[in-house]
Symmetry: C2
Subunit: 363 residues, 2 copies
């Protein structure tokens, strides 16, 4: 049981991360190769629990010596398919590679789980097996994205299609904690996504959420409303919105970047001069690709659950998956959930005892 005011235990043991080795389009090779990359970085400080068919993983693992040295295999015969409905995954997925990896966090065997599998199934099982943090009504999908300035944090990227002002307030507290860890900023600036910056703009939920944030008594660097074009500008460190708008805004940004790339490619192929120009500028132009490389931003956390659950893009490669593992490791190292609980206690939205009572320390 947790006492919200207790100091964090000094962890001597390595951090443990559970990996759903069978999630993603190129499982298990992609997940193992990604975890190998992460194992090269973290050495003995992180131990991996690998979930999947024992024989298959064991034979593949011979190609990943660093991971082999830093991991334990855990047999899981079942795999959650990409098109499996969340309800079906819940019914029959307990002993799948995904289900067992989540339950490792539930049982305190791991501090975080990473999966590139079925998003809906992962969210459904994570919600049921881990439950939400005390004071938090709904988990949100939280990730980082590139901007003209630095990378920013955005949530909810799609977990909740309808949100109340209270949900948006909780996302604000959670996003603030996420940005402190992932952006390394003490007091990240926070904006609520809206259709204008004036107080009267927007729907009831965002207007009430702005009031809740301002009157929360928390030391948040809340700048007020931001608009869609502030995503590209990087106006604030954290953009808070509901999962419907957040998902559509994120995909619109991705789609626009692809559209622009296609325009650029067509323009550079237009004539002989432009082709020569493209040849000369090619190394420089590749820097655009690097800046926008989705692998760099891979790994979104299901924030607000009793445990760290990181979703990797299913189509990513080992570099992208290693990034998702890094997200889980950093969030676990900084004990993000503890910070969220401490903030929620301050708001009076919950009593400290309730926090202690509801929360079961994963370790």
């Amino acid at each position: 049981m947790l006492n919200a005011n207790a100091s964090r235990p000094s962890v001597q043991r390595p951090l443990v991360i559970a990996i759903d080795a069978m999630g993603g389009d190129h499982a298990p090779e992609m997940a193992l190769a990604g975890a190998e990359k992460a194992a090269s970085v973290y050495g003995a400080s992180v131990h991996f629990l690998l979930y999947g068919p024992q024989d298959r993983l064991a034979s593949a693992l011979s190609r990943y010596p660093r991971l082999a040295a830093a991991s334990t295999l855990h047999h899981a015969v079942d795999v959650i398919a990409n098109d499996e409905k969340p309800s079906a995954a819940l019914r029959r997925g307990r002993d799948s590679s995904m289900g067992l990896a989540i339950r490792a966090v539930r049982e305190g065997k791991a501090q975080g789980v990473v999966s590139a599998g079925n998003t809906g199934a992962l969210m459904a099982m994570a919600k049921v097996f881990l439950r939400t943090l005390p004071g938090i009504d709904r988990p949100a999908i939280c990730g980082t994205l590139p901007t003209e300035k630095e990378r920013i944090v955005m949530l909810d990227l799609g977990a909740n299609s309808a949100c109340t002002a209270e949900n948006l307030f909780e996302f604000t507290v959670m996003g603030n904690a996420y940005a402190r860890v992932m952006l390394g900023k003490t007091r990240p600036s926070i904006g609520l996504l809206n259709v204008g910056v004036e107080e009267v703009k927007g729907n009831e939920a965002v207007r009430s959420a702005a009031l809740l944030i301002r009157e929360s008594g928390l030391d948040l660097n809340f700048v007020g409303f931001v608009e869609g074009d502030d995503l590209g500008k990087g106006t604030v460190d954290v953009v808070v919105t509901d999962g419907f708008t957040g998902n559509i805004a994120l995909k619109t940004a991705e789609g626009t970047a692809k559209f622009y790339t296609s325009l650029l490619k067509a323009a550079l192929k237009k004539n002989l001069l432009s082709k020569l120009g493209a040849l000369l500028a090619k190394p420089a132009l590749l820097s655009i690709k690097d800046t926008l490389d989705p692998r760099t931003y891979n790994g979104a956390m299901f924030l607000g659950l009793n445990g760290i659950v990181v979703k990797s893009h299913g189509g990513t490669d080992d570099i992208g998956f290693a990034n998702a593992v890094r997200v889980a490791v950093e969030l676990a190292q900084h004990d993000i959930n503890q910070s969220i609980i401490a903030e929620m206690v301050k708001t009076g939205h919950m009593l400290a005892e309730e926090a202690a009572g509801d929360y079961e320390e994963p370790l």
Copy 2:
């Protein structure tokens, strides 16, 4: 009074468009120069009513001979400021250049109005002076945007921060009529913006709206749900969404394009080779700018009102304003509102008599 089944009168008189000459950042010069461009195209087939201070307009008009030959000045001493609240505009704006221009449509003196002024004030006055079309509960802001394929139509771009399924259904009927005119397609494809393409995805409003569209009995080319990245791909001709999501998606796309442009500029300035490459490719690269030129897409209609009201961007130039005038002219020539009423009658959402009774023919 209108009979929904009557054939359209054959118009011998020129089409009349009212211009709020005092709207926009560079009024009245920008509006007059833009209308001059339009007058050059339309000659005697379009007549303009110009609203603003008589002396100021008269002296400026000497520089625009084609417009002078195709227009009438109408004195308006008041101007709606850009920061004026809609409620204040409603109270004191009746006789402003904007108010008089809208009322010209109300009184049947003009078939459409174009303003680059205060969006909120224009919407408020247009709603009160013109009222909504029979069968239509809420007007929507409708415009076109560039994609990898052709340009597409999108609505609502920001008039309604909260929408019901019925609102979204009405937007679908209106967007279909808009695309038939502006894209010249007989049966434009239509998608509802959502967080996934499966039927179970999204909030209650979009799921119910999809059912309403499918069960409407109208011959609509409805493809179902589309996602944020379908905007850039140009997957469908018409994207229907609520004004909150639509406004944020549109601005996110604009912001992402600007971000990408800044990345491209920085990359091309990176070193001597890239600078030389940029020089060679410059003419070809300018085609990207042309494709995305916001002036080409300037002019969004407040769709669903008893009259054609087109909002031009306030910061545009004469080329952009001429485009907004073109939007108003084309929509008036094709009598878009008549098509919308005819479709709504077919749905049985309203009786034909009600349609006839509520609607006062502007002519």
